[in-house]
């Protein structure tokens, strides 16, 4: 029998040959030193390939994917803080926009509400309620500040509070987006 081709040796090693062919090859290997050497080398190669060297992925890879797939939800306390900040912002905005000293717009709205139908009247009433609450809160805060502090200090304190709450609101709204953008970038 002529010497074996590499393909035959490999096929025999993989168990791809029928019993007769495999038996012939085994017989040949017993008598042919060159083919036996080639067979041994392929066995050695197969042994090395069968125990692959795996590469370790970076440890932070899966947490990063998880963050990308499931962006973190805001915590309970953050939601409450956001609502509180929004309320403060809204009240301040109403005070500035509607001009508490004259109240012309709200008064006009109230007058309009008398002559309008259901849903619009309800909206106007709701705005009036918010306005009244804001006005009351403002008056109470102002009275408290006037009693405790000189006027310039009260104004500075109020401005500071508004700025702090606005900053907190911006941080809460933009924070998760910034984190996501950072995760995607990295």
């Amino acid at each position: 029998m002529a010497c074996l081709t590499d393909e035959k040796i490999l096929a025999c090693g993989e168990g791809d040959l029928n019993a007769i062919e495999a038996s012939r090859i085994r017989d040949h290997l017993l008598v042919c030193r060159a083919c036996r050497l080639a067979d041994a080398r392929y066995r050695n190669l197969n042994r090395s390939l069968s125990r692959p060297v795996f590469s370790e992925p970076p440890a932070g890879m899966i947490p990063q994917i998880m963050q990308r797939l499931y962006p973190a939800l805001p915590r309970y306390t953050s939601i409450i803080a956001a609502i509180a900040a929004s309320l403060v912002f809204l009240i301040t905005w109403i005070y500035v926009y509607f001009d508490f000293s004259r109240s012309s717009l709200v008064q006009a709205l109230r007058l309009t509400a008398d002559g309008t139908s259901g849903w619009l009247a309800n909206i106007i009433k709701a705005i009036s309620t918010v306005y009244n609450a804001a006005q009351a809160a403002y008056k109470a805060a102002n009275a408290l500040l006037n009693a405790l502090l000189p006027a310039p200090m009260g104004t500075a304190l109020l401005t500071g509070s508004v700025l702090a709450f606005s900053g907190l609101l911006a941080f809460l709204l933009l924070g998760p987006r910034r984190k996501r953008a950072h995760a995607e970038k990295s």
Partner: protein, 192 residues
């Protein structure tokens, strides 16, 4: 229909269980990353592609057909992602059909130690050397060796993933082994 462990994890993921998908990723991350890094030969790119792969699997998971093996389906997605990347960045990776690259010369250029004593190297070192040579063989052979041994796939599964006939897959793997054997013989690495 037999539901295997992977399919249970998929069902749990589809129900919204985060932990299930994390478990599935942990199971496959090493095999996927090892395959990708040996295909693209760049760690940063491999990390990006592996992340893209897991992201893609998650987004198309609702289209997975439970009659098929998850691993074959997932490896096909992985293979397509990597091949797309390689085609777009052809200049950085050797051509799909480039057989002119000599693994021996590439290893030499990377200063892989070839001092005396190779013949006495322990099996572990032989194995490491074999896998270094695998990294240098042409892509069309390398991808099949990686699927066969890193991802532990059968010829039929590789054929399904690569859309090649089973005969071609077998021939290419045989050819790859011939190349590897020749390169190892040059260094007397397979006589141990």
């Amino acid at each position: 229909m037999i539901v295997d462990e992977d399919q249970v994890l998929i069902k749990r993921t589809l129900r919204g269980e985060r932990k299930a998908y994390e478990e599935l990723m942990r199971k496959y991350e090493k095999k996927i990353f090892s395959f990708v890094i040996r295909m693209v030969r760049n760690e940063d790119v491999a990390v990006d592609l592996t992340q893209d792969f897991f992201f893609k699997v998650y987004t198309v998971m609702d289209k997975y057909n439970f009659e098929y093996k998850f691993s074959t389906w997932a490896y096909r997605i992985c293979y397509n992602l990597v091949i797309d990347h390689i085609r777009k960045n052809q200049a950085q990776v050797d051509s799909l059909d480039d057989e002119s690259v000599s693994p021996h010369s590439l290893l030499a250029s990377e200063n892989v130690s070839k001092e005396d004593g190779f013949k006495n190297m322990a099996r572990e070192e032989t194995r490491d050397y074999v896998w270094q040579v695998v990294d240098q063989i042409p892509l069309k052979f390398r991808e099949l060796i990686l699927m066969r041994y890193i991802q532990d796939l059968k010829y039929e599964e590789i054929a399904e993933i690569t859309s090649l006939p089973v005969g071609t897959v077998k021939n290419r793997i045989f050819k790859a082994k011939e190349i590897l054997k020749k390169e190892m013989e040059k260094d007397g690495m397979l006589d141990g």
